[in-house]
Symmetry: C2
Subunit: 472 residues, 2 copies
Amino acid sequence: MKQEFLYSAISNNIAKLIRNNVLKAGDRLPSVRTLCREHGISMNTAKRVYLELEGQSLIESKPQSGYFVSRTHQKRLPLPGTSKPSAISSNKEPDELIRKFYLTMRRKDLTLFSMGAPADELLPLPALNKEMMRATRQLPGSGARYDELQGNEKLRQIVAARSFSWGGSLQENDLITTAGGMNALSFCMMALAKPGGVIAVESPVYPGILQLAVSLGLKVLELPTHPGTGIEIAGLKKLLHRIDLCLLVTNFGTPLGSCMPDENKKAVVDLLAKHGIPLIEDDLYGDLYFGGQRPKCCKAFDKHGTVLWCSSISKTLAPGYRVGWVAPGIYKEQIMKLKLVHAISSPTITQEVVANFLKSGRYENHLRKMRQTLQHNYHHYAETIAEYFPEGTKTSRPQGGLSLWVELDKTIDTAELYDIAIQHKISIAPGRMFTLQDQFHNCMRLCIGLPWSDDLQLKLKQLGRLATIIRP
Amino acid sequence: MKQEFLYSAISNNIAKLIRNNVLKAGDRLPSVRTLCREHGISMNTAKRVYLELEGQSLIESKPQSGYFVSRTHQKRLPLPGTSKPSAISSNKEPDELIRKFYLTMRRKDLTLFSMGAPADELLPLPALNKEMMRATRQLPGSGARYDELQGNEKLRQIVAARSFSWGGSLQENDLITTAGGMNALSFCMMALAKPGGVIAVESPVYPGILQLAVSLGLKVLELPTHPGTGIEIAGLKKLLHRIDLCLLVTNFGTPLGSCMPDENKKAVVDLLAKHGIPLIEDDLYGDLYFGGQRPKCCKAFDKHGTVLWCSSISKTLAPGYRVGWVAPGIYKEQIMKLKLVHAISSPTITQEVVANFLKSGRYENHLRKMRQTLQHNYHHYAETIAEYFPEGTKTSRPQGGLSLWVELDKTIDTAELYDIAIQHKISIAPGRMFTLQDQFHNCMRLCIGLPWSDDLQLKLKQLGRLATIIRP
């Protein structure tokens, strides 16, 4: 506990020095060893201090030479404001835009800033392959047998054990596996949705969540959302009486990459529970934090079993495996029945491979590397955008995840930019996709899960130039 | 065409001779070669004649000695009558029974006559393993990448090509893959169901279909069904005005194993189309025919695109792979959207393995063997039941599939038999599971997809004895 306290105090202190320009861009910071000595802290704590500051883009590490105050943070662009969706639920699905978007998603000649999953280069494919071979040889029935309804036991064990990292204390029996994360959300929403009911979500939000809600006959209420800290508690409070169900991507959700502070998570859980509103929490990006510490989940504050915690390895390991899970609290029986009825069971072999991979510790190694890559990518993106995008551009400052949200000048329409960019072999995700209302026309989402390269930078510069050109 | 005509004429003729006792049990039939010569037909046609008769249990082949009139058909038990469900849709889910049933499904100490899938021994596991290794090595992204929304192209190609065998003429683009067959049914029902609407199904019928319908808020209308030829056309006609949607397992469905004759299939398709009622056809057992010829599907008679043809490899190759598909006709857009919203995509690697396995021709070889095994199993079951089950027992005479339906004397309650059998390490599927009404209390389903052995026969005899004992 003392180390925990020291770690926050020290990193906050250094952050303040940088923000107040006492420590200047390019200044060298004390070595990890010096930091230990000066503050009487352990090496691990010292490392976490610097990881945390790196996560906030305030400092950067240079191989073999130590830590320096980041130059990026100096010229980083302003943050977009809190979103202001209408409190009247609307259902203007941007069908045409989404149709166009999916048509180009698999074109190999495009630079896919539009992607929603990490590129192959960020995934440990050879290690996964080996695990697949081993599991195929060793699994009784070779994966051809039906898996048990609740899902692979080893997988549920290790997911439960890992819940410790986000403040949870799940047991293997609390979990049900699903065919990917979206499948988990779908079961949860089907279990809880009454046609005509109202579901509250972030705004902007992942389009799949909007489509799922609409397809189940729900009305969607979009909540005012801050790009750094997620939904506004005050905004939620005002609307509570109208909400039947809430779904939040609490850690680094797409497209904003916001992360709700612990106190907000706790407040939301308490508020919703008090009003008898279940919370579906989608934590699929939680392991992709840039700082020194895995953020908590709302589920960690769940006293009544009314938080349905969903996650998967689709954004961190193997999208095509379709392995996800849910800890549905008091709704376990309903979810089990839905899984039986709609799916019988989840794919056997891919669950086994994921279970073994997670148990072996290779997952943690992989995540460490992946987080670093994503963080570096983010800095590269931020720098390039600051330099080459038109005046008036704002960006989110994700502390984890795969997405960067870019708000352009109000006069620039990203649906138009999409069409022009495609002609230049660049694909983006226009902002209008992430809402059922008339907003975010001047925004877009960029995937930072692509391998950074000179070519990629050129494409990003080109995108900035195209945005400048179409400005009226 | 001439051969087609000859083949029917000859096999019908021989069948008549056997039924009229002109040819007697144990009589040797002419060799295939002699049959060719005598009737001026090809070897293939002659073989098909005998396969067809074997499928009807009228003759049996003995290795190295030829074909003989079956002894089984002499002492085979009467067929249960056409079911007579109430025309008022009822919703008495046998929850407690189903809960108990699933609790024992994975117990390794039981003889699982209750199984709904083939035992490992009937599946080509080593060959599948090899294919899995190969696919893992060769697939770009090793199966970790999201598959395209519509599903693996190679798989859709080969499923389309194979549609020829059941009178279909599907194109690759007509198909959408799903995570197993139940998932295909679930998408179809979700696309077509309006809460409070009425769905017509066979009676008895697979419990998963009942549960799915109920969970989507549908009312279930069970149709009078003959154990040999499926639903009665006259019964359907009378109820047409009350039906919004129909779901039929047209070939060897569980539990009856009935197979609708071509003329009934055509009549049903025409009737439903005339009344604007879509038909979900579940053909998951169609490849498991015992006779010489793959039965047709309703989809083969579909002129307006209102038949949604579903199938999978869960009953023939690898239940745990979760690979299925649907040819949804005019409902393609709706099903694509549902798949996107509820699943994003299907598992990549298992689709690839199945596609390669089907393309290689190994699937046809495997099916040939599996059909033979199932057919032999059926004969063994029928013989043993005829000899050791209590008086008054009737059984279905499946011409394909995995299920045998056993009707005991009215005084015997199979829910009670279930409890007693479990104590003797035997598990069955009580008849009441296959309906939402008060019927089939004296029936049960036995899986014929277990490897036949002296031990299995002992267990089957024991089951017969237990049934005799509990008779009041």
